[in-house]
Chain length 411, copies 2
């Protein structure tokens, strides 16, 4: 991602479809103060804390698993139909630390393998590298997960004397592909997970930014056998600057030195070695946003969701206008989320991005950053979260001029 | 530490010398708001940020190495006579993440060894376990580092085909021993580091809480050859709830895929896989405290330093009063910091702590938590940070009744 930041920095006048960051027009510094005060009021009024106890909760070291687990459990029940014991929630420093702790727990030795749908979010690749865990990629295909590819990966992994421990998947409006799994495929994944004995790591940062269609139920909501470890983020639905995420790990772990325990408690032990605990001040900011909206992030994000929907429609319309007649150019049509993938008739990697930023004043993300397969080398990801309608129209027009030039030069 | 928390929880009326947390009587929620506003004002007035840029700085993802590196560099020059390029500072989620990223960078394969002075802070042991790094312990002895032991460890490590990569040390008022290295020994460590090719990981959370003696210069301030990686924490001098620490890594790394780069930049890459970046809101809280004190934490902690000095005197006086005539009981006399170590004439591990908490209403930390050597099994650590003078007097009196009972029963 460093290269992308550099390009954005070098060409400040270019229109950027690159950043996957949330829309920032609704941010206000006063919110931070109000959120913190709201959480303090909650501790006093609903939890019976004294003033000294409130100060201690915010200023001192705190519970390793976090202090806003009950609010997160309430939110999951309300927005995601996921019912979990708050004790199975571990609050983490962003979703990244959640991934790191989960993978560190699952990697018992060099034979443990993480399967991930590819192209894939770079954070999970980084977490696997950090803990020295082997990775095997499953083709996403047209449905989000290619089951033939999944079965082949499981078989080959076993044949090589390795263990398929878990499958990482973003089932809703995936980053980078924008794809969403059908309910049928979600149930099929659960079935495979039971039959083959691997866990599903469900990462859901974008689920509530749906479009006109009804939202799919999360895999965790369909899960009756604790097959799913659920990874949560407040970066897109709360605010990135709090760096608060969480993991729901209600699995029962047996046979360790600790005896029988919740996976969440095993993760807490690992987390204590990574960051000790998540800043209670940062947790208070997120908690205040939850409390102001009766713990519903759907409610809290009404404006953002409408804006992303509108931008998604706008990008689709502009692509239709500028590219309907261009051979070799196609794109997918996600119902929600922040990302669209465009197939181009030529390679579109870092070199081409640099050229496009310089000569055509528009920036995008090469899919080659997320996957090494052949198709990804000719794909680009457009993010819809940061731009106005006028910028989108102009940006897609510029993209067209870039495609015209390249198609001409390669023919 | 979980066991300690449990004991404290089960015996709430016991006087606790266990927790190494900072004094909390000066905490006020309003400070958090004022600190954040102060940092925002600094961004606008001194750095020329627009309102939108200030909001972006606090709310969005940010620079991996952090956004308050210049203030930290200013603080280090002012309080510690350490002059570093702000680019060599990486802001981390507490000092724990600093340790994790440094060890992850130093452990290139299973032959790399971390040497640590023992008894040692548990955080570094945890970080080493997390990244699967071998550990070799060096005896602390009466001076803080036993150089015969250090030389033997280096020799044996090499003989076993392993590499001594770094030595972890807390040279000022160490946790748990309360020991401080002389300037002569600091220079000797630098000499060994150069001669033997290992780095010094200097951790300094308590240095500015000195007593009547003048402060020693940090090893980093004496370092002319970038032998020292300096680990910083704001947990004791700022506030624990911000979870902000940092590492100064001005070493030049060559030969990697990235070519020649600062160790700080290699650490940033690792950090991006651990937590992406440190919450800018949490950084703003720490920055505000720095800015309110012209970047001097010595200034910011005048009240705390006086209180810890007073408590340290008070514990020493009470020990003198109650134990001067007891054979087999002795203690060290740190000039500053938060910790005193008491030698007892019998084993003092978790069982004995539980009994002491239940029957004598006083809690301490078994040194067995920090070291596995024989002497540690009969030592306890007393923390002076949290108690009033009256509580200290009563607590030491109760400790005497516990010692009387145990000494009687074992004779």
């Amino acid at each position: 991602m460093t290269f992308l930041n550099e390009v954005s920095h070098r060409y400040p006048k270019a229109i950027s479809f690159a950043a996957g960051r949330p829309y920032e027009g609704f941010f206000a510094i006063e919110d931070v103060h109000r959120y913190i005060e709201r959480y303090c009021a909650y501790l006093k009024e609903e939890r019976g804390f004294s003033d000294a106890e409130v100060r201690r909760a915010l200023f001192q070291y705190g519970r390793t698993k976090g202090i806003i687990h009950e609010l997160i459990a309430r939110n999951l029940e309300l927005d995601e139909a996921i019912r979990v014991d708050p004790e199975s929630v571990v609050v983490t420093v962003g979703c990244q630390e959640a991934m790191v702790t989960v993978l560190r727990a699952l990697r018992t030795d060099e034979r443990d393998v993480l399967m991930m749908v590819s192209p894939s979010y770079v954070g999970i690749t980084g977490a696997a590298r950090l803990v020295d865990m082997r990775v095997a990629t499953v083709v996403s295909g047209d449905r989000g997960v290619d089951f033939e590819s999944l079965d082949a990966v499981i078989r080959e992994t076993r044949e090589n004397g390795l263990r398929p421990r878990a499958l990482y998947v973003v089932p809703d409006y995936s980053n980078p592909t924008g794809q969403t799994l059908s309910e049928e495929d979600r149930r099929r994944l659960l079935h495979r997970s039971r039959a083959e004995g691997f866990l599903i790591l469900e990462d859901n940062p974008y689920g509530l930014f749906h479009g006109v269609l009804e939202r799919q139920r999360t895999i965790k909501a369909l899960d009756r056998d604790r097959r799913v470890v659920y990874l949560g983020s407040f970066a897109k639905t709360g605010l990135p600057g709090a760096r608060v995420g969480y993991v729901v790990a209600d699995q029962i772990v047996t046979g360790g030195v600790e005896g029988t325990q919740l996976l969440a408690d095993q993760l807490a032990k690992i987390k204590s070695m990574v960051t000790v605990n998540t800043s209670p001040i940062a947790q208070a900011v997120v908690a205040g946003r939850l409390l102001e909206n009766d713990c519903s992030l759907v409610e809290a994000n009404r404006r953002e969701t409408a804006l992303y929907q509108d931008n998604m429609r706008c990008v689709q319309a502009a692509l239709e206008r500028h590219f309907a007649d261009i051979p070799g150019v196609s794109w997918n049509r996600p119902d929600g989320g922040l990302f669209i993938v465009v197939d181009l008739p030529f390679a579109a990697r870092d070199d081409e991005l640099e050229h496009c930023a310089q000569d055509h004043d528009v920036i995008w993300t090469p899919m080659a950053h997320f996957g090494s397969d052949k198709r990804s080398q000719r794909q680009i990801r457009l993010s819809v979260s940061q731009l106005s309608n006028a910028e989108i129209d102009l940006g897609v027009e510029r993209l067209r001029s870039f495609v015209d030039e390249r198609s001409g030069s390669t023919e």
